[in-house]
Amino acid sequence: MAVLAKGDNEGGKVVDTMPLPTYHSLAAPVRKPVDKFALLPAFLKVRGLVKEHIDSFNYFIDKGIKKIVEANNRIEARNDPSIYLRYLDVRVGMPSIYENCNVESITPHLCRLTDRTYSAPIEVDIQYTVGKQHVVKRRNKFIIGYMPIMLRSSACILNEMDEDELAKYGECPLDPGGYFVVKGTEKVILIQEQLSKNRIIVDTDSKGRVIASVTSSTHAIKSKTVVLMDKGKIYLQLNQFTKPIPIIVVMKAMGMESDQEAVQMVGRDPRYGDLLFPSIQECASERIYTRQQALQYMDEKVMYPGATNNKEGRSNSILHDVFIAHVPVKDGNLRPKCIYTAVMLRRMLDAILNSDTFDDKDYVGNKRFELSGQLISLLFEDLFKTMNSQAVERMNKNSDKTRSSPLDFSQLIMQDTITFGLERAISTGNWDIKRFRMHRKGVSQVLSRLSYMATLGYMTRITPQFEKTRKTSGPRALQPSQWGMLCPCDTPEGEACGLTKNLALLSHITTDQEEGPLIDLCHSLGVEDLLFLSSEEIHAPGSFLVMLNGLILGKHKDPQRLVIHLRNLRRSNVIGEFVSIFINEKQRCVHIASDGGRVCRPLIIADMGISRIDETHMTKLRDGTYDFDDFLSGGLIEYLDVNEENNALIALYEHMDQDDVERSSITHIEIEPLSILGVVSGLIPYPHHNQSPRNTYQCAMGKQAMGNIAYNQLFRADSLLYLLVYAQRPLLTTKTIELVGYDKLGAGQNATVAVMGYSGYDIEDAIVMNKSSLDRGFGRCIALKKYTVLKDNYVDGVSDRIVKPQRDKDGVLMKQNMRALDDDGIVAPGQIIRNHDIYVNKQTPMNTSKGIGRPLTDSCYKDSPAIYKGVDGETTVVDRVMLCSDTNDKLSIKCIIRHTRRPEVGDKFSSRHGQKGVCGTIIQQEDFPFSERGICPDLIMNPHGFPSRMTIGKMIELLGGKAGVSCGRFHYGSAFGEPSGNADNVADISSTLIKHGFSYNGKDFLYSGILGQPLEAYIFMGPIYYQKLKHMVLDKMHARASGPRVLLTRQPTEGRSRDGGLRLGEMERDCLIAYGASMLIFERLMLSSDPYQVQVCRKCGLLGYYNHKLKTSYCSMCKNGENMAKMRLPYACKLLFQELHAMNVVPRLKLTEV
């Protein structure tokens, strides 16, 4: 409970801090620690890694969409309301497409390969009128559009399939789902972080004023209400008013005419009265005493007075509809809003009196996470309304024009609005919904398939609400409330650092739950409705306010009892498991939350510090007779959200004594400490021994590591895919690795590493690699690139054509670069393809604008072959060729070209501890040191990598790996896992090493491979899991002598892709100036760039021209050629002069002889 301060229980019975041992306590059996680890896989089996995405989408498909359609279920013609259409029901069908007049069901993999959208029809049952007589007709399964379907959601065909079935559909069983396939690309709707809605937040603004703000959000309206204190007086700020309104005026306008009652409502404490006094005085000085006067005063401050009946009554409607809009107004009764305002004031005044009660905007409990279901539901609501209004519009137009028989609505409903609207939003990521004033960019992103970890990382990523450019540190800092909910390690470096977060392994994001039953339940548990209470009674001592999702439900005289009852009801499954009951002693409030978007996590319930889970439960779980839901319904485990965690005292382990905490006050027990980390950081062994930023670096790098991506990786058609040829499972694993399947889709190899200096090519973290290891396949990778060629169709049935390679009469190819082509004019799979080879021999008609009616002859086509641009000297092979027709019925030819690469000098590698390094040199095996057992390292790492990085975890990984290979058991290094046995102790590892004849410290006696003598030190050597990162020299290497130039400035092009020059920039120029190398500057900046000869008139200083016929120069300004001089300028300079001329600025050159 929140009251934990020592010696605080005056009045109550004094509890013995050290209960004397009794007969019972001594006779009680000593409980052995229960191995609770099996709960983790059970949780993930039930909830999955991306369950929050899928849950949220399922909620939308099953409930949300029905609510939206129900709320807008009738449309009627404007001038004849008897012509109507009613939506009776709505469903989302099975994924299919409508093609050539028949419906074909589709699979996600088919959509990926053929650039289609994986979507399902939205079917509605409608009732509508037909004809003049308004005959009512009913139609079922009427399709109003297609909805992109989230993979593995309840509407997806993959739902609840087992591994074999998934394989049949070309899916990887380890793929988590939770994303969409739109136009062939996989798109994730990222989790959006927001400040929680409908909650009072007390804070200070930029000017240091205390403000209490509420962002109200209902289906009808979204508004922000701010109450602020300026110079001792309290005002209300609303966008609808030009000026802040004194709060007492607002209270009066809501019918609270008596100042005394207003003060009573806030609270009887005289300190409140003191703080409120200036505001009351101000109101009085404005001579506002009645409701009428107050409303009048407010009317004058309304921002946009309506055109009709000017300002009269506007403020009243603002008070009804905009001001704290989420508080419902029943029959014009504004009293609930009055009470709410009073509570806001009270919270604000509390904060002024005691700065502890300020709310923290960065506190995770004050955040809500918006998921794909909610975002799509907003989009759908908007599109659905648009579609309906368009239909009405058409109907009106139609009936205005022709007075003939009115059409029926079912013909006017266009599927495209919804289909294309959803598709466009998801594929661009732009959520522009005018109706809800929502303009967000980058909501959906392409799912990265660089590695399995990258994919998982995307699914758990949370994007921030703030723009990333803000330099604030507060939101970036690690929040204590993130514990167990958000991963403390996994955040990007740079501008988004600390803002973009990731979910922890066991966290879950709630979806909305029904409020109705909760309200009834609360009332029957003794919550008194405020409407029946006087203002005085609201804050009666001992009673707490009860808030449900930010709404004041009433008050309760015995809050502790209420809370206990509610929690018991939740544990016995009467109310939903995600309902949070939080008692806030400072605010004297009980907060009940059932809204969506809260993060929560499962915890084991403990009674007086004794876990409810014992060995019998765990045995049942291991036997499979119990699953995670049984633990939930059995009241053994419950979900706590961030707020409710404040009422709990959570112990890490049951069997361990926490120093000064009394055992009996422990209410919950952590399932596994490793679950505070996320999926991506979970693959670091011994992360708790590393310096914290190293873990963060690894989180970023783990996503760039090459490895196996999915079981279906060879059948995918991603535009770029990097695969490791011999990916391995890490020798030193963690429990998270096994939970998420990284052991099946590894991204790295276990390399034997010797930590020593060697050859001088290992400075700055470079690593020295063993050539024989590379020969044997270490670090070998495959890069698969997709090249797409479209066979375009033009008007009149004219289209591109693909012709077979032209040969002369001896059958020899006309052009050498056609050697890779098959007889159909497309490259053959398995063919070696080199730089400049043609991969699709395409021809385009000369005249594409208009067909000529007759069949085109060969001469009407010009060659437009697709030429492969590769690296000279590298052999690449055509892996696959796929033909399909795209959505516009054009033939698209996808050639996947494969390049197998072995590591070379400059390729980037990294261990799992944020220790990246490039390959510095490759050395023959015989030159490498070898141990007494003949072991030769695969790579050598410089020991200078350790002291400043402090990655002790890497050293333990080496020891553990070495012990692992010698005893034949995979060792574990889960985060904080030593006490629970999920990580091996260094001492145990060392004794294993000794048992197998190694030194306890992992250092071996090595002989120099060059001299043959022993090395003068013992060398720390053993296996470490190394990742090959996607940055390879081959993709970056670039040099040029002379080459292409930009058309406009005649300067060399920029960038590797355009074969550009290397820029001698400003700073380099400064160096040359400082050095005085003027000729070099001249050469670099002019001769090697864009020299140009101009004719300058010495008289007027303008540029002239050279007349080639007369062989003279001529100044067109002076109209003669007498004073002309030749000189050289950078072309860009000449261009600048001419551009200035065009802008009426005359630059003149003054020439002098040198």
Binding site: L714, V725, K771, S772, D775, R776, G777, R780, I782, G830, T875, V877, D879, R898, T900, Q924, Q925, E926, F930, E932, R933, G934, C936, L993, I994, K995, H996, G997, F998, S999, Y1000, D1004, F1005, Y1007, G1009, I1010, L1011, G1012, Q1013, P1014, L1015, E1016, A1017, Y1018
Partner: protein
């Protein structure tokens, strides 16, 4: 094999030398590497012939001395690996043998693949790479090196064929190295361009006679159970592999040894008598049972070094409070040499090959000098 400590390694004096002896500590420095708990010391040794001239001890290398002292004792010899002691030789020469064994003794390995069909999930390059690493049972001494412009013939190329398919509807199959079939007559694949009618189909090799006639034994692969690929129903691999002679320096596939290495002979010396419980403790400390207990009668126990050769240098015995009572040493000129052959040649042949190569190299140096 020296029995005990320094005694057996007495300096055998050349006849013209006086009976001068180095003091013990210098003798240890000269002939031993001492492995302390923190780091090995005296790893370099004394190369200079006159290092100990002041003491009247000759430190030079002489052929006679070498011939007298040099000894090889074979401890273990199987088809695939051997362990022998090489005594009385400098580390640099022992290392030269090791280096030559790894990098310069030639073998045959698959270098070129002619892929006819590969519908397996393994990419052509990866499959080729795997094939290249398969050890072949083909004596490299019977073949010549092939250079870039050479025509592959029966003297420089061995041709293998791999043709497997997994019929539709059957179970997945594993392609093992045993499926590689030797083609003594050379390539069976005809070149892409159709040959003129009449004469023999032009293939990728031009064998003038069958290899069966020049070789005594049929060629094949050394290990029959190396997995090459797995084939699903309906998949097939058809290819021809051409093996040529090469050395490990170019690519590890030509290395004739899995690895070849040596270690110096361990020598464990108990400096002070360890008796009683300490002795028990010492015996228990060593994971490979180097120490044993000698019964002194009437319950007394003393630790003795029983099997110093087994020491893996875990340094347990030199750690802890009693660590200074034991000293771990390595005999500088006694090498326990291990050769693990990949199978083309038996290990003992490999070693003689290595010696021959070193000899050749020396001869080249000599001929260049003269």
């Amino acid at each position: 094999m020296p029995k005990k400590g320094t005694k057996s390694k007495e300096v055998d004096n050349a006849p013209n030398q006086q009976e001068n002896k180095l003091p013990d500590y210098l003798e240890v420095q000269r002939t031993r590497v001492v492995c302390n708990a923190d780091a090995p010391i005296h790893t370099q040794g004394y190369q200079y012939s006159g290092t100990f001239a002041a003491m009247g001890v000759d430190n030079s290398v002489s052929v006679e001395k070498f011939c007298k002292n040099f000894k090889i004792e074979i401890n273990r010899l199987t088809e695939d690996d051997m362990e022998f002691d090489m005594i009385g030789i400098d580390a640099s020469i022992a290392n030269a043998f090791r280096r030559i064994l790894i990098a310069e003794v030639p073998t045959m390995a698959i270098e070129k693949i002619f892929m006819v069909d590969n519908t397996s999930v393994i990419a052509d390059e990866v499959l080729s790479h795997r094939l290249g690493l398969i050890p072949l049972r083909a004596d490299p001494r019977l073949f010549d090196y092939i250079s870039e412009n050479d025509v592959p013939n029966e003297r420089n190329t061995v041709v293998y064929k791999l043709h497997v398919s997994c019929p539709k509807g059957s179970q997945r199959i594993t392609v093992k190295s045993s499926e590689l079939e030797w083609l003594p007559e050379g390539s069976q694949l005809s070149m892409a361009a159709p040959a003129q009618s009449g004469d023999k189909q032009k293939t990728f090799t031009s064998f003038s006679q069958s290899q069966k006639e020049i070789l005594e034994e049929p060629l094949g692969v050394k290990f029959k159970d190396i997995t090459i690929a797995r084939l699903g129903p309906g998949q097939a691999i058809e290819l021809e592999a051409h093996a040529v002679k090469g050395v490990g320096k170019v690519h590890a596939k030509w290395s004739p040894v899995a690895t070849a290495w040596y270690r110096m002979l361990p020598e464990v010396v108990i400096l002070k008598d360890i008796e009683g419980d300490d002795a028990e403790e010492l015996v228990k400390k060593c994971p490979v049972n180097v120490f044993d207990i000698e019964d002194l009668g009437n319950g007394g126990k003393r630790a003795v070094v029983a099997k110093p050769r087994a020491c893996t240098l875990c340094r347990e015995c030199v750690m802890g409070p009693n660590g200074n009572q034991v000293e771990l040493r390595r005999v500088r000129d006694h090498f326990i040499f291990t050769i693990e052959s990949t199978g083309a040649l038996p290990p003992e042949v490999l070693f003689t090959e290595a010696v021959k190569i070193l000899e050749e190299k020396c001869e080249r140096v000599i001929s260049e000098l003269s």
